[in-house]
């Protein structure tokens, strides 16, 4: 099965959860559809949803919660 990366559309701070005390949007082993929210990127105090542009099973995250990310940086790997 092919592995593909989902990238951050914007530079900023990557969040895997909608709020610090909430569970992550998706975790390893979950299946995502195209358009599912997989995280948030905070750029200049604005929060932007990151949508999956590929479907599949989440193999692993490449960026930690609250990590500083660049535009185009891979956030997670999906397989399917």
């Amino acid at each position: 099965m092919a592995q593909r990366e989902i990238q951050s559309p914007l530079p900023g701070t990557f969040y895997r959860k909608p709020a610090p005390d909430r569970p992550p949007f998706v975790k390893e082993g979950d299946t995502v559809k195209v358009g599912d929210v997989i995280g948030l990127v905070e750029v200049m105090k604005m929060f932007n949803e990151v949508h999956a542009d590929q479907a599949g099973k989440v193999v692993r995250f490449l960026a930690e919660n609250e990590a500083a990310v660049e535009a185009g940086q891979p956030l997670l790997v999906v397989e399917g």
Partner: protein
């Protein structure tokens, strides 16, 4: 007791860090830039005498971390800390921590920050000082029943505001009881998430209001005012263009407004630079106190331009224990000043933030033009902080001349490599709303929406 500052830690970033470093240098102080790892290449770090890294990019782990800033102050043997605006500037515990460490906090006493930082307590303090306030709930509303009762008394529409909020954050509108029922729990949850305090209070929503604010300076004993700024041109409660003096006030209202601000600042024995925000109802000539900001404000340069008083220098001097050198009768407004906030945002794409590298930078100059900015050619604006790139300030002898000068400066200015709001400001300068000065706090959003 005067205690001269020799080494100042600047606990902020961006253009305000640059502004503070400049004032420190003019007073013969050394300036140390406390910065995150994302700001190593900042203009503030380049201009400072020394720099100290206080943490990773995210502000919660650097600029908002009191311990990290205090460690930096001790490590660099600074004798004073200037907090700028935002971040820790209105954190009373931080101010107290600075003082406990034996250092000078450049701002008012921690207790003053605490009182004025709690919007409900600030209102009560204002009322006791005889300053008119916006009709409201007289303190936080504990539950929905109390909120309904208060709203019925105040009259709809009402604003639901976070007690610990500020900068336009944590505010919701309820037009009737059904909306209040819906908005109150959301507002409380938001307040808890954003400020760690679920307290909210209610206030009348004045629909056609102007936002007018009075600048004050105090030394803990004496307080003077430096007249007002008009800040009604806002988008999502963020100021876009400010001017001084307000074109909406008559001389008689101006005198009463400024006197009320001095009365309130005197009641809390204010020290340093502060701003009292008011709603002004031009139809009725009423001004109503909203809140006090116990710090330097973004738009302070327009006051400096019309009064000739250097507010940041005055802050540093009063913090060091010097008595205020100014008497009220020495302060007069001359001419008109305007400030355009040039943000790294793409107005054609819903004001999407646009961090990145500035490939080309051409700053305007000539008579009456001032730029406060974090920018230099080749600088990469990080995505982690606010989008303010430059404050373009123009002064002239009267309002038409100031408009013409600002228009000229905007035409000269070029920022390439990122999207900015320069084009928006060029259009705004030609708008009927700005030229006629017939605007309120809702005007700019309508104007933006009607732009082709």
């Amino acid at each position: 007791m005067a205690r001269p500052i020799q080494k100042l830690l600047v606990a902020n970033r961006g253009e305000i860090a640059v502004r503070i470093i400049r004032a420190a240098h003019e007073l013969g102080m050394q300036a140390i830039a406390a910065h995150s790892s994302a700001d190593r290449d900042s203009l503030a770090v380049r201009l400072a005498d020394d720099a100290v890294e206080i943490g990773p990019p995210h502000a919660s782990k650097s600029y908002l971390d009191p311990e990290a800033v205090l460690r930096a102050a001790r490590h660099t043997e600074a004798d004073a800390v200037h907090p700028g605006y935002g971040f820790l500037s209105e954190n009373a515990d931080f101010a107290a921590g600075v003082e406990r460490a034996g250092l000078v906090f450049v701002g008012p006493a921690p207790e003053t920050i605490r009182i004025m930082g709690n919007k409900a307590e600030a209102r009560e303090t204002a009322r006791r000082a005889g300053v008119p306030v916006v009709p409201g709930s007289d303190g936080p509303v504990p539950d929905l029943d109390a909120a309904r009762a208060a709203a019925a008394r105040i009259g709809y529409p009402v604003l639901v505001k976070a007690s610990a909020g500020g900068g336009g954050r944590g505010i919701r509108v309820a037009r009737d009881q059904a909306e209040l029922d819906r908005e109150l729990p959301v507002a409380q949850a938001e307040a808890r998430a954003a400020f760690g305090d679920p307290g909210v209070y209610l206030e009348r929503f004045v629909t056609r209001a102007r936002h007018v604010e009075v600048q004050v300076l105090g030394d803990g004993e004496r307080v003077v005012h430096l007249y007002e700024r008009e800040c009604s041109l806002q988008r999502r409660r963020q100021k876009i263009l400010e001017e001084a003096p307000s074109p909406a006030l008559t001389p008689a209202v101006r005198e009463k407004l400024c006197a009320s601000a001095v009365q309130l600042a005197r009641a809390v024995r204010y020290r340093g630079a502060g701003t009292l925000e008011y709603l002004y109802d031009a139809d009725r000539g009423d001004f109503l106190f909203i809140e006090m900001n116990t710090r330097i404000q973004v738009e302070h340069p327009i006051t400096e331009m019309v009064t000739g008083v250097d507010l940041v220098r005055a802050m540093l001097r009063t913090a060091a224990g010097e008595p205020l050198a100014l008497r009220q009768e020495d302060i007069a407004v001359r001419g008109v000043a305007m400030e355009c906030r040039i943000n790294a945002e793409d107005a054609s794409r819903g004001f999407l933030p646009s961090p990145g590298t500035i490939s080309e930078l051409l700053l305007p100059g000539g008579p009456g033009v001032r730029i406060d900015s974090l920018a230099y050619a080749g600088y990469k604006i990080p995505p982690f902080y606010d989008s303010l790139v430059a404050k373009l300030v123009a002064w002239a002898e009267d309002r038409p001349a100031a408009l013409a000068r600002m228009g000229r400066a905007l035409r000269e200015m070029r920022i390439e490599g990122i999207a900015t709001t320069l084009g928006l400001h060029r259009d705004l300068l030609r708008s009927r709303e700005l030229v006629t000065a017939e605007y309120d706090t809702t005007t700019l959003e309508r104007w933006v929406a009607s732009r082709p």
